[in-house]
């Protein structure tokens, strides 16, 4: 299945000042996650013969359209994102047996998002990724260095904050089987879990946080501590820092002792 990266020519076309010293690392990191073709700075993002656009076809009988288009045997397809559907179109194209999808990291320049396509191919079982890899974290860092822009903390697949958990039901899921509330394990994309304590925490999360901070808390006092933590988070209108939580826990035990 041909997946083509056009991030570098797209960044150049958009006027970014690329740090060319990072290019070799970029090529290597993309190859490590199975990207089959990577456009160089001197190449156009989209070649003249590329099938380009099709932004709105998802609202119609797109499967039938794709089947007909495949008979034309296009070498490359670049779905446009004016309707916010480029990645969805590319996935649907792949599901219908298509190939040769052009994508860019995060979908910059109105393309499908490369990293989301890659994880979709993994989840669908068509092209598994290694269970544990730092490749996506490296790709993010190189991209940020190339483009001079930090990605949002909750960017799909690449965001640093995607695996921060707080709500009782989801942290309970971590404790029983993390796959219950995660689409893929953080290791897959070089991320890590972190635990926030706040208004939606449950007792399991409190026990985990106490363990993380290196102290034990009596089981019979956890319900009181939970009430205190929720009250404090509501007053502050945000989740608690570790030191704020530790202070509450110490107060709950009647001081430092």
């Amino acid at each position: 299945m041909l997946l083509i990266d056009a991030t570098i020519p797209t960044l150049l076309a958009l006027g970014y000042n690329i740090n060319f010293s990072k290019l070799n690392k970029w090529f290597k990191a993309l190859r490590s996650v199975g990207v089959t073709r990577i456009r160089k700075p001197s190449e156009p993002a989209v070649a003249l013969e590329t099938l380009h656009g099709l932004d709105g076809v998802l609202s119609g009988d797109y499967a039938a359209i794709f089947r007909r288009l495949r008979r034309l045997e296009p070498l490359e397809v670049a779905f446009g994102d004016s309707k916010g559907q480029a990645t969805a179109l590319a996935i649907s194209w792949l599901e219908e047996g298509g190939s040769g999808v052009i994508a860019t990291l995060t979908g910059i320049g109105s393309f499908p998002a490369l990293e989301r396509l890659r994880v979709f191919l993994h989840l669908s079982g068509w092209s598994p990724l290694p269970e544990s890899s730092q490749s996506f974290a490296q790709i993010r860092e190189i991209y940020e260095s190339l483009s001079g822009q930090k990605l949002p903390l909750f960017e799909p697949v690449l965001g640093r904050g995607l695996f921060v958990g707080e709500s009782g039901v989801h942290v309970d899921g971590w404790l029983k089987d993390p796959s219950l509330y995660e689409p893929f394990p953080p290791n897959l994309v070089g991320a890590k879990r972190a635990l926030a304590i706040g208004r939606h925490s449950g007792q399991g999360a409190l026990r985990l946080k106490c363990w993380e901070l290196g102290f034990k808390y009596p089981q019979e006092k956890l319900a009181d501590l939970l009430a205190l933590a929720r009250q404090k988070a509501t007053e502050l209108e945000r989740s608690l820092t570790d030191s704020e939580f530790a202070t509450l826990a110490q107060e709950g035990l009647g001081g430092l002792g």
Binding site: R116, G165, P178, L208, W211, R230, R238, S239
Partner: protein, 290 residues
């Protein structure tokens, strides 16, 4: 004819569950009133079983939202429903895990037990004169047999409104279409709840609506766990070519601009990520003890 879509805003439930966020009752009332004025069909505002403070907060939100329908989220548990009845909401939403792995690993429960408890919860909700909706949790990863089993159960319990929840955001447009079509074909009114883990929440919501879903779930600015949910304004902007909404794009954009600061959790999350975390070690070695 263009489908007319009812929007269900879950900012004060699913949205606020995003790590880092916590709203006071004053802020929740403010947000609820803004969303109600913008024309949202239904507000899902919290989980009453969290305790008396949450129940009082939900009551206050309900008072500020006029004729907008207000719902509360519940597990399929009598305690949850009893708390919802105290909170003055119009709708009790019951979230039912339908995958065998959820039932076994999360709840240690059989399908027969879940079915009995769902019936008991529905009897309680209906007996109190509230509307009921049932959500199928993680419907995206359910097998065909699990879907048929769930539809049969809801049918037998006379449930009309079903929420299809893409709990971990792995649905694709083709799978969304087949899921919605199946439940529509079985005679249910369908609500779709997307998550944005693969960046597909908007496309999936559009496909769901074009396949017959009458209600779509959103949050302000798309706030939610992991990569979040569908943003109210972005869904309206992207769907306007094909769908009609009761909320105008102008109102949605204005609302998201006015409330932007409330959802800024960047500094908190960065601090947390920079701290030494031992969650992975714990999950590997000590989770069983918890």
């Amino acid at each position: 004819m263009r489908p007319r879509i009812k929007l269900v805003d879950a900012t004060l439930r699913d949205g606020e569950q995003a790590p880092g966020l916590a709203f006071s009752t004053k802020t929740r009332v403010f947000l609820g009133a803004l969303l109600s004025r913008a024309g949202i069909y239904q507000l899902e505002v919290g989980c009453p079983v969290m305790g008396p403070a949450e129940i009082e907060s939900i009551k206050a939100i309900k008072q500020s939202t006029g004729s907008t329908r207000v719902s509360a989220w519940n597990r399929v548990r009598i305690d949850d429903v009893l708390a919802s009845l105290k909170s003055g909401v119009d709708v009790a939403h019951l979230c039912a895990p339908i995958r065998e792995s959820h039932l076994v690993k999360k709840l240690g429960q059989s399908w027969a037990t879940l079915s009995q408890e769902l019936k008991a919860c529905l009897d309680l909700v209906r007996g109190a004169g509230l509307l009921a909706s049932v959500g199928l949790e993680d419907v995206s990863r359910a097998s065909s047999d699990e879907l048929v089993r769930a539809a049969d159960l809801l049918d037998s319990l006379n449930v009309k409104l079903v929420r299809l929840s893409d709990t971990v955001g792995v649905l694709t447009p083709s799978r969304t279409k087949s899921l919605v079509s199946y439940f529509k074909g079985r005679g249910f009114t369908v609500e779709f709840h997307g998550h944005n883990d693969l960046g597909l929440a908007y496309a999936n919501s559009l496909i769901a609506a074009l396949s017959g879903a009458e209600l779509l779930d959103v949050t302000v600015a798309g706030v939610g766990e992991r990569a979040g949910n569908c943003s109210l304004a972005k869904l309206i902007a992207l769907g306007a070519s094909w769908l009609d909404f009761d909320v105008s794009l102008e109102s949605a954009l204005e609302l998201e601009a006015e409330t932007e600061a409330l959802f800024n959790r960047r500094a908190y999350i960065l601090d947390l990520l920079n701290a030494k975390t031992a969650v992975e070690t714990f999950l590997k070695n000590d989770a069983r003890s918890v």
